[in-house]
Subunit: 281 residues, 5 copies
Amino acid sequence: MASSPRGAERALYPVPLTLEGSSVLHQMLRFRWSEWRKCAPAARREVLGQSAPVLQPLESAQTAAYSMLGHKAGDLMLIHFRDSFDALKQVELDLASTPLWDFVEPVRSYVSVVELGLYESSVKLFRSLQERGIDPNTPEWNKEVEATMERQREAMKGRLYPEIPKARYVSFYPMDRRRGEEKNWYTLPIEERQRQMDLHGMIGRRWAGKVRQIITGSIGFDDWEWGVDLFADDPLVFKRLIYEMRFDEVSAVYALFGSFVVGVRCPVSQLGELLEGKLPR
Amino acid sequence: MASSPRGAERALYPVPLTLEGSSVLHQMLRFRWSEWRKCAPAARREVLGQSAPVLQPLESAQTAAYSMLGHKAGDLMLIHFRDSFDALKQVELDLASTPLWDFVEPVRSYVSVVELGLYESSVKLFRSLQERGIDPNTPEWNKEVEATMERQREAMKGRLYPEIPKARYVSFYPMDRRRGEEKNWYTLPIEERQRQMDLHGMIGRRWAGKVRQIITGSIGFDDWEWGVDLFADDPLVFKRLIYEMRFDEVSAVYALFGSFVVGVRCPVSQLGELLEGKLPR
Amino acid sequence: MASSPRGAERALYPVPLTLEGSSVLHQMLRFRWSEWRKCAPAARREVLGQSAPVLQPLESAQTAAYSMLGHKAGDLMLIHFRDSFDALKQVELDLASTPLWDFVEPVRSYVSVVELGLYESSVKLFRSLQERGIDPNTPEWNKEVEATMERQREAMKGRLYPEIPKARYVSFYPMDRRRGEEKNWYTLPIEERQRQMDLHGMIGRRWAGKVRQIITGSIGFDDWEWGVDLFADDPLVFKRLIYEMRFDEVSAVYALFGSFVVGVRCPVSQLGELLEGKLPR
Amino acid sequence: MASSPRGAERALYPVPLTLEGSSVLHQMLRFRWSEWRKCAPAARREVLGQSAPVLQPLESAQTAAYSMLGHKAGDLMLIHFRDSFDALKQVELDLASTPLWDFVEPVRSYVSVVELGLYESSVKLFRSLQERGIDPNTPEWNKEVEATMERQREAMKGRLYPEIPKARYVSFYPMDRRRGEEKNWYTLPIEERQRQMDLHGMIGRRWAGKVRQIITGSIGFDDWEWGVDLFADDPLVFKRLIYEMRFDEVSAVYALFGSFVVGVRCPVSQLGELLEGKLPR
Amino acid sequence: MASSPRGAERALYPVPLTLEGSSVLHQMLRFRWSEWRKCAPAARREVLGQSAPVLQPLESAQTAAYSMLGHKAGDLMLIHFRDSFDALKQVELDLASTPLWDFVEPVRSYVSVVELGLYESSVKLFRSLQERGIDPNTPEWNKEVEATMERQREAMKGRLYPEIPKARYVSFYPMDRRRGEEKNWYTLPIEERQRQMDLHGMIGRRWAGKVRQIITGSIGFDDWEWGVDLFADDPLVFKRLIYEMRFDEVSAVYALFGSFVVGVRCPVSQLGELLEGKLPR
């Protein structure tokens, strides 16, 4: 096992330090076009007007709406970033109480929290603690760990509680790290995982400026271990970046992917326009 | 095979002693918000009033209600702890007869019983019986086993028939032990399983106070071997605990997980409030 | 291959003798409680009254009804044992023609026939035929095989055409024998399979009196190779028996399981009571 | 790779000659019994009468109807053998235009063409061409291949464009050849595949007279590589034949099976009777 | 790892140059025949007439309609080739706003872009850059790569933005390259992948004239890595080509296939005819 001594040398503690930020909900919704078509213009205006008190404040509260391609994610995806699960649940309840929701049915969803895995700091800290003879999960260990976490939490505030990027396109997918009978991410030593994540991060950095990536963790909350949102003004960037990463060891060997969905940003203020069949530009 | 002699040494009996307690049903339910919105306030009150005789006694009979995040577990999860499968079935029938159930449809469910696996006692007892030359499943073996079980059943009464923890958040997931072509939990010697479970338990103990875990067994009753409920006042604890455990040998190599769902406790007395769109605080 | 000579010694014929008995259909049905609640007591009585000519004779014709826990098997499971597939299909048609079936929708089903695998007799017979120099599938072989089958068919009539046990609880699940890339039941020599099945049977025999097991074969008829019904007056027996068997080589390595469902017997004469929300005692 | 030279000896061309015949569509349909029950006898007669011009010619145009056991294949399966995909599509459109189709909804389907794999002729021909120094896919190779195909096509006309057997029972299932990481049918040399198929065929021949088998190929058309229809007057024959074959190397190691469904033949002329709840004898 | 030095020799950069062209949407739609049958001829004409302004321009804007066999892809598949995801989304919205869409429900869909993988040019270029001592992802590397891409983009314009072939039949399927624990496409050196793709392409070229193939990439957009459309005037060509390719190393070992669907071209101008039940010839 990764956490037990091997020969003379002891393995480092296997669990990387991990920071959490905003609570995130992806709602993928089918729109009942048939029912909507049956409504006269005045009735549509009434539905939208009565729903406005819930809809209008959404965007400034960090909700983004996307018009989705294909049918797998329904017609509309809402991404909500909030400060807590309670706030996420409340926005679900608020939306469910609007008359617009008579025209909406849930197709998929994803519950997660913004996550930063501190592989580099972890290896550095664990090595130093080991050299100082401090054992994992002792009070001294915990104190040092908490201090590092606190420092990083402060330094990375902006990335832990990000604004949703304004980019026109979004690609979302969930993923796991493989736990196969032969190839198992969770039994690799932390230094090896750190090495692979580092190489992986280098690819990401080359794409900075063209695409924003927000990783959210969903262990304990949803079907996969992580959710990934990519935001870009050119949707081909999603394909190129992910394809390039697929040849990277950590993805080639240890990544398992769920469904990918792609959509076009629709400012909430233009939802009415979208529901008249016009894709906002 | 694990149960046949190897060289001079005989393997211990492979099946751990296991205690069962409360019968448990998880009901995950979609709420028909559209239909509910069509009801005038008076009609809603009538529905709730006519359903009250079934709903009100639920909580004291060990039923907890949760407002679920995302759509996978529907809108509402009820966890029922009862003394028997008959009592579980009766509560299902009682709920199905309320007018509120016109607004409810089943999405998922899980049937199980509270379970305590006595790996440590098992290995100790089986070793001692083996040393005394007592063979498995002989009358003398059975007598000793039954005596140990009885003692433990008495000592662990509180954990076998627990009250549902009052914590604000719940995370539920089903799991299996892997029976792969190479890595197979069920062919490991019991001492090796005991060793791994023991390390696993040590992680759990470090989290005591922050999270309550109730393991239920579902072999013979539902699609997975076990169901796990975690209860905590901070939902991030679910993610941190499960992530840490994932690096532990028994989880890293031998655990297969189903869907994870997460929800916010809603006292049954405040269900009406929830159905008005207000998340109880 | 298992059936070709290895060195000087020839392998035994790999296919075990197998007897078939009753044709069996499991119907798992969701009950439309909402629609039922809309019916006045008189209307319900009429529905039940008009359905009675089909329902009443069911039990004596070897149909058992169960009120199912959770939602996976719907609300109701009917197990029909009949003499032929035609008789099974006719009971399906008869039920579909009752007014009660307006309140019922199919959720799952399983088609199979009672099966007894004669591993012990097979090995004994095949060995003796081999010693006498009789080759598989020659007329002489076929004659001897048919004679053994006939004898066993007569001796096991009661088990081939059983009455449905009166026990209060049922657990049903389908299963396959593994055909993995490494571990493949169907390429094991018949003597090895017989050895494993024999050990497996010994566990079953220790549970006799507490649980009745009926194995049905579904190769060619349904999605899995076998269906297993367990009948007991204490549902915990299902869990304990199956858990114990899971450590047995033939299950640990070679068994793949489908969904498990569990229910409470409801005499057909008390179906009306059940539909009023009272679980028959 | 199977198609590249190994040492001094060159491998035979790996793709077996394959003949195609009738285009085949399996339609599995749920019947809306509730809606049907609401129709008065006169209305039912009208529905059937108006649908008769489409239904009556079906059987002589090589369509067979089956009343299916269990719910997985719905209530009714239609197997259509036609001369082309256009003719199959036209029969779908014709049926969809009948008033009877208001009571029918699609559950499953399968699109394929009758196929005969000429493993024996292929190996013989490829070996002879190799000995004559003729390379695969050269004009001379193609000429010889086409000549063999043409001869076989003529000789096997009856099997390529068969009438649907009159047997009372049908069993249908789709299947693939395994392409596992270790065991991969498509990387075996053609001689080895031919050897296994030959042994497989010998089992089939022993069952001739008791069961008719029609293999259809669906690569490029549907989810699996092949569909298999078995026709017999005793449904137990399906189980016995498939079980016996499962011990045969090509099935034990290289076959992956989809869902099996089983049904009882219902002459189209007796559909009305079936819809009155009487299984035709 | 494929991208790190091995002994004295350095591996080539693993990611092949890849060009993208048209944005593509496959919409698979069930037609509500029952609802349609309820419409009088005049009402049908009105529905079609009011939908005509959206439907009529479709074909010249590179949309093709197909009447699908079986039920898996619904009744109708529309393939849209457009210049951007925005244009694809707009056509979805336009169609959803027609009265004809009251009779249509989405069954499946696929989002992708036309893709050409330049394995040969990549290996040639990367080798030459390596010999000149130019490292991957340096400005000089990027300049050379961009120059090659630009040249190829120009040369292959016709294949990147193709017209939809006029052929009568289409076969569509999604696929992945295997990332198994043993066999993993993404860890093969690029020269080995190029070698296999080259052999694969040779099969394709032998079928030129009989079938047109359009490969679209969907990494980041949909559930599989690629979508493949085959167009031919004889549907058996699909089966023969794909079957032959299945014995080719790159498919035999490294291809994972999703569902295959097959359909018959229906010019948009003849949709009305199709909806009257006549398959256009």
